[in-house]
């Protein structure tokens, strides 16, 4: 399986290791970018494509684990695969807890690394899709007027029009008009669909 648009980033300070990984990853048709330090990687503008990061844990100044922490801090979702000369249990636990998808010990089987890379890219793709959907729902919610938003919150909380009218001190007819606009703007046909969307962006919790 080839994923032409996907990119693999390799960060390792050892030029031999860097070179050999580049060759290996290229050999399965993936795009590869290599960096000799974590800082160099962080300074780079990353392309908006599915990607993953192959990271040497032990490097001078900023280590692989530090870089991973930095990514989390910046809200980047790029999955990380660690490679290490001689890893320790605490080190791997820490890496996994911070969201690493894999932890490989050098020297490793090429297939193990390549599998890990594919898994990571797949995961990244899913993440990216989810993020796109959530973005879309959020855009629709933002298009509501403040009054419509108030009504939406009560609707998805399961209240009847009568109750909403009483709560918001408006006529039942006005509530009905708002509901119609909401369904239209949120591009849904049923109350069930509306609830599904709002759950994804966490609107339900606002009432609770």
């Amino acid at each position: 399986m080839t994923i032409p648009e996907a990119t693999v980033f390799v960060v390792d300070d050892d030029s031999h290791v860097r070179g050999s990984l580049k060759q290996l990853i290229k050999s399965v048709g993936l795009n590869v970018h290599t960096f000799s330090s974590a800082q160099e990687f962080l300074d780079q503008d990353l392309p908006d494509t599915p990607s993953c990061l192959v990271l040497d844990i032990r490097m001078p100044s900023l280590s692989g684990l530090d870089l991973q922490d930095e990514l989390v801090k910046r809200g980047l979702t790029t999955p990380v695969i660690f490679i290490t000369g001689h890893g320790t249990v605490p080190m791997s636990v820490r890496a996994m807890k911070s969201g690493a998808v894999d932890f490989l010990q050098k020297p490793f089987e090429d297939q193990d690394l390549l599998d890990a890379i594919h898994r990571a890219i797949e995961q990244n793709k899913r993440t990216r899709l989810e993020q796109a959907e959530i973005g879309e729902i959020k855009r629709r919610v933002e298009s509501l007027t403040p009054r419509e938003y108030e009504v939406l919150v009560l609707v998805v909380a399961g209240m009847l029009n009568k109750q909403i009218a009483y709560d918001l001190k408006m006529s039942e007819n006005t509530v009905k008009t708002h509901r119609a606009h909401i369904m239209q703007k949120m591009q849904v046909d049923s109350l069930a669909d509306l609830v599904r969307l709002t759950v994804k962006v966490g609107i339900l919790q606002q009432k609770g």
């Binding site: 300070d13 050892d14 031999h16 290791v17 070179g19 050999s20 990984l21 060759q23 290996l24 290229k26 050999s27 399965v28 032990r58 490097m59 001078p60 100044s61 280590s63 000369g85 001689h86 050098k106 020297p107 490793f108 089987e109 090429d110």
Partner: protein, 902 residues
């Protein structure tokens, strides 16, 4: 208490009693006269105003003397009105006004003939308001200062006398009595008037400042003054002026202070006024309130007899007197004949009073049978005089004997008698507290380092039997245990003069009613004898002990080549005894062969040269290396009497040196192994990297080949990577092997940058693990150096790893280690390793290069010691220095390679 004013050498005690009796009888007569003969004498009304309260000794004395002087006349009789203003205790203005109006009301209708005022407050009251209250009444004053008189602007009615302090007179009197005086303690308090008196004193004494040490104590609280007085140095006199208040503001009565000070002081106290006399001061050139009183009384009489007050000069004349306390003169060993002409000695009569008290009282009783009394008194008088003469003659003989004796003769007195039933410890305390030297002779003084017997008077036990010395206590204990009769007891005495003497003492204590009151004794100084004897014995003993303890062969050979002395080591080596050696010939003991070898050195030593040489001595067929010194013995005439031989077997030392070198070599190897061990994990990683790379390259190559069609270009690239990575793995293995291999030194031409880089490669991983930034700063243009590649790499690795460890506790991001190289001098390259670690203290730096010195928990303490040895073997130097900001930098140099360096 003044039943005793007498001019010395003019008035004997007996005569004084006569006077007393006359006074007493006179008073009786007066009473009779007052009662019966008023018409015959004119009555004069006398108002006496005293500034203070009752019982202020100065005023009391003066007032009493004034009345006594008045009463001596035969023309008048007096009616006295006495007012105490109590001004010192009640000084508020409203009170003064009330007092004034009280006097006015009280005396408005009394015809007062004469007013006496005592003290400045009384004088100023009368001066300000007297004219309205007592118009035209003459006023006679005393007890005021000259400055007061000037400021008050007194009119014609006023006359009298003022108080003057004879600062220099007082000082000179004290110095006259104590010619050896070196220190003069001055006491005047902190009240305003106290301070002003001290100021005057300082001014008056300034010309003496370079001759005597003046100690001013007025700035101290009373308690401290007393403490200081108790610890005054020898040859001090104390001059006490006035102390109304101490520095803490506590108020005192100056005459009482005279008592405190005298009691506390270990030196004689001289005072300001006759009111202090009898309290414990020796005396001095004093303000005499008594004379002031007498003088004012006499002036009063002159006025009453018709003299104009304005014609009577105001002065202090005749009111400053040299007065002394007889008891104190005795205590401090002052001869009355040495006192200034016209001195008055008081308090001598106490014992005489005790002795004759009943005669005096009897005499008064017997007045009415006058005839009998006169006969009786005349008899007594003669008897007393004869006794006195006999005593005097005996006293002279005794004094002359003591003075000329060549042995110490002395008498101790007790300020408080000693209860001989007290426990020993308390008795010892008592001796130190209350016993003083009351009599001494020149023999003692001279042998104790003093000029005259008088210098010893007043000495305490502490002054020659210091309590801190066990011998002192032993002496006193002996004296007590011998029931206060001690014969020929050897005592060690220590004096402030610096003399320590050994004395054979015989002391007898005088016991009265179970109390020890006095001690007499004689002593013979045997110090000289003792010291010489002991010094000789001591020095010989010490010398013998020392020479026998030394592992050096020591002997003394005289100029006839014969032994005079050998020590134990010498005897052991040659297997002889000193007793056998003495007098034997040098060559006999050494043997002909050896003697021949040393002959030239002996000749040189006997010619006056100190000779050092090395020589093997053979014993049991084995040669021992020796170092020897011949030191000529030159006598006081410059002639050479012989020479000392000092010889030391250095075989052990030489052997030790060789062993040490071997150990050092072994340790150097060990340290290499340890260093490699320390970096073992780095090495593993080092190999793992290229291995991992090789595998990845190989697998990539296989994938390129599997492609359809096979990508041969990329396959070739990947295989190139395999070759490069495997070469690197090989390098790592070679390097470790080389370091572990023990080789003897093999110096060659080295490229500095290259050899440093090789080390950096090994330690780089460790730096990463420890989050240390490892940098190098090495110019390309450095000349090659000369050294053993492995050794200098080992040193560098050692320094770098030390640097890592120094930074172990530092913060992340702050850890940096820099390796630099630069041309140092024309012929050397300097390599430095700079860390940003905890640094080293000066204390540690001193030991840094010592073997087995370590600050690491599991360190061997060999790294730096061996490193330095290695650098020095490679003709370089190794040192370190503290960085200005933080951490330490180690430096070492290596010589620049030249063709001829080898």
């Amino acid at each position: 208490m003044t039943f005793g004013g007498s001019k010395i050498q003019k008035t004997s005690g007996i005569r004084y009693i006569h006077r007393l009796i006359l006074v007493a009888l006179g008073s009786l007569l007066l009473i009779v006269n007052v009662a019966g003969g008023q018409q015959r004498k004119e009555t004069k009304r006398v108002l006496i105003i005293l500034a203070g309260q009752m019982y202020v000794p100065g005023y009391e004395l003066a007032e009493k003397e004034t009345r006594e002087a008045l009463n001596k006349n035969t023309d008048f009789q007096f009616e006295y009105f006495i007012e105490y203003m109590d001004r010192y205790r009640f000084d508020e203005v409203p009170f003064q006004k009330k007092l004034l109006s009280l006097y006015r009301t009280k005396y408005i209708n009394k015809k007062i003939d004469l007013i006496f005022v005592f003290g400045v407050h009384a004088l100023s009251l009368v001066a300000a308001h007297g004219n309205e209250m007592f118009p035209e009444i003459p006023v006679v004053f005393n007890g005021v200062l000259e400055t007061h008189i000037k400021s008050l602007k007194l009119d014609q009615r006023f006359t009298g006398c003022f108080i003057e302090i004879d600062y220099l007179g007082l000082l000179n009197t004290a110095l006259n009595n104590h010619p050896n005086t070196r220190h003069i303690a001055i006491i005047s308090g902190a009240a305003k008037v106290d301070r002003s008196v001290e100021k005057q004193a300082r001014k008056a004494y300034s010309p003496y400042a370079n001759k005597y040490d003046f100690i001013y104590l007025g700035h101290l609280p009373m308690r401290d003054i007393l403490d200081r007085l108790a610890k005054l140095p020898k040859h001090t006199v104390v001059i006490y002026f006035l102390l109304l208040k101490d520095v803490k503001g506590e108020a005192f009565k100056p005459w009482k202070v005279a008592g405190f000070l005298s009691e506390a002081a270990n030196a004689p106290v001289y005072g300001l006024a006759d009111t202090y006399l009898g309290k414990g001061i020796v005396g001095g050139t004093l303000i005499s309130y008594e004379a002031q009183g007498r003088k004012t009384g006499e002036i009063g009489l002159r006025i009453l007899s018709g003299e104009n007050p304005a014609d009577i000069p105001i002065s202090a004349e005749g009111t400053i007197l040299n007065m002394f306390d007889w008891r104190q003169l005795k205590r401090w060993g002052i001869n009355e004949s040495d006192l200034p002409q016209g001195s008055i000695v008081r308090f001598r009569e106490l014992s005489l009073w005790d002795q004759y008290r009943w005669y005096i009282i009897g005499g008064i009783c017997l007045f009415f049978i006058q005839g009998f009394l006169i006969v009786k008194l005349a008899g007594l008088h003669k008897k007393g005089k004869k006794k006195e003469q006999e005593l005097k003659a005996s006293d002279e003989r005794y004094k002359s004997f003591i003075k000329n004796s060549t042995e110490d003769i002395y008498r101790f007195e007790f300020e408080r008698p000693l209860d001989i039933t007290l426990p020993e410890d308390e008795q010892i305390d008592h001796f130190y507290k209350y016993v003083y030297v009351a009599e001494a002779n020149d023999a003692w003084a001279r042998s104790a380092g003093y000029e005259r017997a008088e210098d010893l008077l007043g000495f305490r036990f502490e002054d020659f039997l210091p309590r801190s010395r066990p011998e002192s206590i032993a002496t006193i204990k002996k004296f007590i245990s011998m029931q206060y009769h001690m014969h020929n007891y050897e005592t060690v005495e220590v004096y402030e003069s610096g003399i320590t003497r050994c004395v054979i003492n015989s002391v007898i204590g005088i016991i009265e009613k179970g109390q020890l009151v006095r001690m007499w004794g004689t002593g013979r100084d045997i110090s000289d004898l003792k010291t010489t004897e002991k010094a000789l014995a001591d020095s010989e003993k010490q010398l013998r002990l020392l020479t026998n303890a030394l592992p050096v062969l020591i002997s003394y050979i005289d100029r006839d080549d014969r032994y005079r002395y050998t020590n134990r080591a010498y005897e052991r080596w040659f297997g002889t005894k000193m007793e056998e050696n003495i007098g034997r010939l040098h060559r006999e003991v050494l043997g002909e062969e050896l003697h021949k070898k040393i002959e030239p050195f002996v000749q040189r030593a006997l010619a006056g040269e100190t000779v050092y040489f090395e020589m093997d001595l053979v014993r049991d067929g084995k040669a021992y290396p020796f170092e020897a010194a011949y030191i000529p013995d030159v006598d006081s005439d410059g002639e050479i009497q012989g020479f000392y031989v000092l010889a030391q077997d250095v075989s052990v030392r030489k052997q030790k040196e060789a062993e040490l070198q071997k150990t050092r070599d072994q340790l150097a190897h060990l340290s290499r192994v340890v260093a490699v061990g320390e970096i073992a994990s780095s090495v593993a990683h080092e190999l793992n990297q290229p291995l991992s790379a090789i595998r990845s390259y190989a697998q990539a190559a296989r994938r390129y080949l599997d492609r359809n069609p096979a990508d041969l270009e990329e396959t070739d690239n990947a295989l190139g990577g395999v070759v490069a990575a495997s070469r690197r793995a090989d390098e790592v293995i070679q390097r470790i092997r080389a370091i572990l291999k023990k080789e003897s030194i093999n110096r060659s031409r080295l490229d500095v940058k290259e050899y440093i880089q090789e080390v950096i490669v090994i330690v780089r991983r460790q730096a990463e693990d420890k989050k240390i930034l490892l940098r190098t700063d090495i110019p390309d243009s450095l000349p090659p150096v000369f050294g053993d590649r492995l050794q200098v790499q080992q040193v560098l690795m050692n320094l770098i790893i030390n640097g890592f460890e120094a930074m172990a506790d530092g913060e992340d991001g702050s850890r940096e280690l820099v390796v630099r190289a630069a041309q140092d001098q024309a012929d050397a390259v300097m390599i430095s390793v700079q860390d940003s670690g905890i640094g080293i203290t000066d204390e540690i730096r001193d030991h840094l290069f010592d073997a087995f010195f370590t600050t690491k928990r599991d360190g061997l303490g060999l790294g730096l010691s061996i490193s330095r040895t290695i650098v020095e073997e490679n003709m370089g130097r190794l040192w370190c220095a503290q960085n200005p900001d933080k951490g330490t930098t180690f430096y070492y140099t290596l010589p620049i390679y030249t063709e001829d360096v080898r």
